[in-house]
Symmetry: C2
Subunit: 338 residues, 2 copies
């Protein structure tokens, strides 16, 4: 298995990418191709005292600027480390692609360069989020501001396939993010999506309100990308808020003594809430696995994103999505926006 990794995505590139990649090669037994400036990669490896023996480099000198219009990823093509990685993935020169670069560009690139699974209307940004019980997948977490009901149904199909094939959850529980549990709650979008989900073969458990999201009773939560992005980032922000509070409570002499008494539990909690332990966000709907690592990823986060990429390839969930999506085609209303 060969995983393509953008060596110049994220705040800590290329050092942390290289460290994560070297560890992945050794521990996971995958092949890795790093995309980006060969000289800089070799310099960084030398500085870090790491061997690139089992890692190949696909050279390109430029980096896709995170502030650039996402759509430009299509034109810059092979000239940037991200664009080259996407192109190689499309051409079958690797089985999955990991990048910590621009999310928007990865969405566009997954759609236009890697291409979508046949029948899939939109690529969705799909992070796994830590909850009180296990993790849940949220999609769309920001790829599509405005969605149609059929898109939400497809998100549910894709998320369900992922959770079943990659995460090993039988018959994953699906819910629709909404402002009330009743079928009559929400906007036109939720009312229509509810019907489609109810009529589907999915294990649809109805609407989920904001207050129940952190419980983790549901495996896949679907929403339009605007709402999903608000949920994702508020979730992150609340996590930060509480970890600051916990730090404050456990500061000072009494606090430090107090922390010592419960150190194991605090460490376990921190690990549970650590996004980077889970990996990155999937670009669900692309023909091959594309994973967005967090912009602030360190070596451990890159390692986990590569591990997730390997699990994606092993899980063969994309065939599952293709089949499930093909079954629903024809049931939907005709649309002209493809």
């Amino acid at each position: 298995m060969k995983i393509i990794v953008d060596a110049f995505g994220g705040d800590n590139a290329p050092d942390e990418v290289i460290k994560g990649a070297v560890r992945a090669v050794n521990e996971l037994g995958v092949e890795i191709v790093l995309t980006g400036d060969k000289n800089k990669i070799e310099e960084s490896a030398k500085k870090l005292g790491l061997s690139l023996d089992k890692i190949s480099v696909a050279h390109t000198s430029e980096v896709f600027d995170i502030h650039e219009e996402p759509v430009k990823i299509v034109k810059t093509g092979k000239n940037t480390s991200m664009g080259l990685g996407l192109k190689m993935l499309h051409d079958g020169e690797g089985d999955a692609f990991v990048s910590a670069g621009s999310t928007g560009a990865l969405v566009v690139g997954s759609t236009m360069i890697v291409k979508r699974i046949k029948g899939v209307k939109r690529v969705a940004l799909a992070p796994l989020i830590p909850a009180e019980k296990g993790q849940f997948m949220l999609l769309d977490a920001g790829a599509n501001n405005d969605c149609r009901p059929e898109m939400l149904l497809q998100f549910a199909i894709m998320g369900s396939a992922y959770m079943e094939k990659v995460m090993g959850i039988k018959n994953p529980k699906i819910a629709l993010a909404n402002i009330g549990e009743e079928e009559t709650k929400g906007r036109e979008l939720e009312l229509e999506a509810y019907k489609l989900l109810k009529d589907s073969e999915l294990n649809f458990c109805g609407n989920i309100e904001g207050r129940d999201i952190p419980k983790g009773d549901i495996n896949v939560i679907v929403s339009d990308g605007f709402t999903g992005n608000i949920i994702l980032k508020l979730y992150e922000g609340m996590g930060k808020f509480f970890s600051n509070k916990l730090k404050y409570i456990l500061s000072g002499i009494n606090g430090k003594l107090s922390a010592l008494l419960v150190l194991g539990k605090i460490k376990a909690f921190k690990k549970q809430m650590d996004y980077t332990e889970i990996g990155g966000s999937l670009m669900l709907g692309a023909c091959r696995p594309v994973i967005k690592a967090h912009g602030s990823s360190d070596a451990n986060a890159f390692f986990n994103a590569i591990r997730q990429a390997k699990k994606c390839v092993d899980g063969k969930f994309i065939d599952e999505i293709a089949e499930a999506v093909s079954k629903t085609t024809g049931k939907e209303r005709p649309q002209n926006d493809e």
Copy 2:
């Protein structure tokens, strides 16, 4: 000052309402009228050993069912404890109204019975939410699923007036809930609302992402009611999630010892995050203050909601809103939905 209180709203009516009302009469020096079944109120007071000397009762035998269609509050009129309270407020038989009953019915009642401030397009549900620094107001938190940009501008005007006049914050900071900080982020709604807010006389600080909401740097956050409701409830859910985690960390022998060492800080944190200490959610845009207390309110929460009602009357923020709204009229596009 006379505050009307729905004695039969919420899960703990009428006992907790009466306890909160009696405390308010004694500590805040306000007059209180309880609406609802006089016999039941007197029975409850007797059972609790409380004197109703300084409290009057406006009798009506029925209660507006929380599962009923909100719009029915208009028809049931004076026959329910909530409907009677709204009618009395409209007729000037009280200065503010507090109820822990159906939120939807209170929105409809504030609009159709109490009536809106001249020029205000929609009544918004506006809770105060505890944050890392102080509190912020979020509106609309659920009264209007779909909003137009002009409505978001009005929400900002109303929230600003409230925070300035009632909460004593000079030149309140306003932000628009969005998926990115840049002016170009969001849906059509956010793009248009951003322009209106930027052109207004408000202290508009741009977009706020989910991750920055809990910081409390902003005093008023505006959004459509769907997004706001998701934010409000996720915020509550995350609070619950972390308080459960904290409880777990501080359980067992070591945990209990640990908790003892930092008891003061934990108590202060719990108090800071306690919604019921703040009061209820305003129905901003109504001609007179209407406050929705939490459905699970206890005596302390009712007391705080009544205290908030008093602050609203003292703050005279409604005149401020009327004036500010009148200034913006004419700047907007014509609409036919009033």
